[in-house]
Symmetry: C2
Subunit: 338 residues, 2 copies
Amino acid sequence: MDKKATINDVAKVANVSIATVSRYLSNNGYPIKEQTKISIKNAIEQLSYTPNIVGRMLKTNKSMDIGVIIPTILNPYYPAVIYGIEKKAYEKGFNILLCNSQRDASRQKQYVNTLIQKQVKGLIISSIGDDFLLYSDIVSKGIALVSLEDEISLDKVGQVLFNYEKGAYMAVSHLLKLGHKKIAFLTSPLVRKSRKDILKGYIKCLKDNNITYNKVVEINEENEYENGALLGAKLLSEDDLPTALLAVNDMVAYGVMQYLTQNNINIPEDISIVGFDDIKISKMMNPALTTISQPSQKTGELAVSMLFDILDGKESKRILLEPELVIRASTKKIRGEI
Amino acid sequence: MDKKATINDVAKVANVSIATVSRYLSNNGYPIKEQTKISIKNAIEQLSYTPNIVGRMLKTNKSMDIGVIIPTILNPYYPAVIYGIEKKAYEKGFNILLCNSQRDASRQKQYVNTLIQKQVKGLIISSIGDDFLLYSDIVSKGIALVSLEDEISLDKVGQVLFNYEKGAYMAVSHLLKLGHKKIAFLTSPLVRKSRKDILKGYIKCLKDNNITYNKVVEINEENEYENGALLGAKLLSEDDLPTALLAVNDMVAYGVMQYLTQNNINIPEDISIVGFDDIKISKMMNPALTTISQPSQKTGELAVSMLFDILDGKESKRILLEPELVIRASTKKIRGEI
DNA sequence: TAAATGTTAGTAAACGTTTACTATAAGGAG
DNA sequence: CTCCTTATAGTAAACGTTTACTAACATTTA
């Protein structure tokens, strides 16, 4: 708990200059006598000296941190993304500053500011909304920026996107093929572009198949866990029940499933349901959830690679990941069809 | 992308000294003329200046980061803990450096080193194992340390513990009350103290109730998601099947449930199962999982409070959280009993 | 009116590093 | 024996802040 040892202390004990100690530590080919090396090594041990990265950072301006801003860590989709990010970042010796915006724009802005001030090398953000000024501010500070999911109309920004519209289209197609004609879309607030795209895909597929029935059930709450019950209740309160559902994400789907089951509606016998994301547990649910797979871990890994590419001065890219339909037990042919 | 503006640039533009700018920024009662304030404000805007926290940190030695090391982010228990940590930390203006040890001791050690070098103010760790040296190293560097789940025999370390043994005892009691006499314990490698404690509770409860049947099914894999199938297979490969199961955590329970269901064993009709953790989705499973509730978010919040207490020089505490049995649908009276 | 006080601002020394220069000694080339 | 090179090490100036001193006024106070 005493004062931490610095490079000066080490130099004094080893009876060399701080430059030599610094060189010893940086371990770049600079030649140092074996003798000297040993005494420095001993001094370091004796003082249990640890380099102060803050000092180094100030001098070299080489931060080894990347900021990560996500809307919520409670939807397992994001931990999976973070897993990918952390994995790749660790390989490069980078650390992650994790920020949870809680889907709150001012909180997100505050986090961005802090991260800039902390001199992060890069920033990966799954943003609440399209805040052009925020992004350009980051970029103009020389910080590599990668956006997840939401499209940003700005140069020099890496983007790992997902074809939400197509995903929704595939989901609805699947339900139509099973004979469903009354398909509802259950969703959290339609604020993010990704969600709006899902809506688009849903509408488009219905239109393309000349289905007139459509029902969008939206609620104001952001908390996905509790949304299920709310959405379920709202759904059941109306007449003309659908026979199939598309949920904006898997978590919402679970909530709805649970609510419906509790209200004696069987899945998939009475109502089929398709989720969105394919988080790990979706295959463990009973019934296992049919869903649109979005490669979360890969998204994280790609984001980091892209970030390093930008830092290396390469042209910033834009990747559009394609959805995949994973058919499990929560969807089946409509009653009466063979 | 030009050179970032510094406090010197601001001072020059505003035509004042850097000291004045610094005072303006720190916004502590130091009196500054309105006139001066305005010109500084303008200069800052004009240059779109952002303070460099690294410079500040070096001078003040006041880091606003806390390191968090967890074994895996893929088990939703940890994101919930992180949620609690982040929430509390944000209130105090602290940021989180998230590290995923992947249950790998050397990786954990490396992360600890990096965090020390980054001058984190505190460190919250859910550790792989009991590495006394590692801990004392941290403490001796003046970094506040809080350990989650695992007990550390070291002064000055905050500890948020959980009564695993009692939890297991309660789980087994519950199963016994339902008439089960053949209860197996399914677990990932018994390396962490927490897991060993669960085993203890399991054994003790059986002994207290004069039950001789016991079966511990352990596998070497750490990946909880895939464990289920492995454990399930191992279980079914033996004769004398149990009628009830205790899983080391909810994720393992899901895996097992899924495997058993696929092999035409119904839960809870054929086999009852109790999990451990009560992660959010456990109530959304179908059947919903009976489990021992471990307050994840609260654990995170307590850890941060404790950390700040230590930083404030208060006596470091040790909190033992008590388990709670949450009865849901995955357990029922043994076949034949009324 | 002189001294004391309050307001406002500047100077310069840290904080712990890295690194461009510079310096010394030793060994080879001519 | 001079001159070059190579191996090794030191000096000191940065990096962007904060802050203890000091300074210059203006305003009270006695």
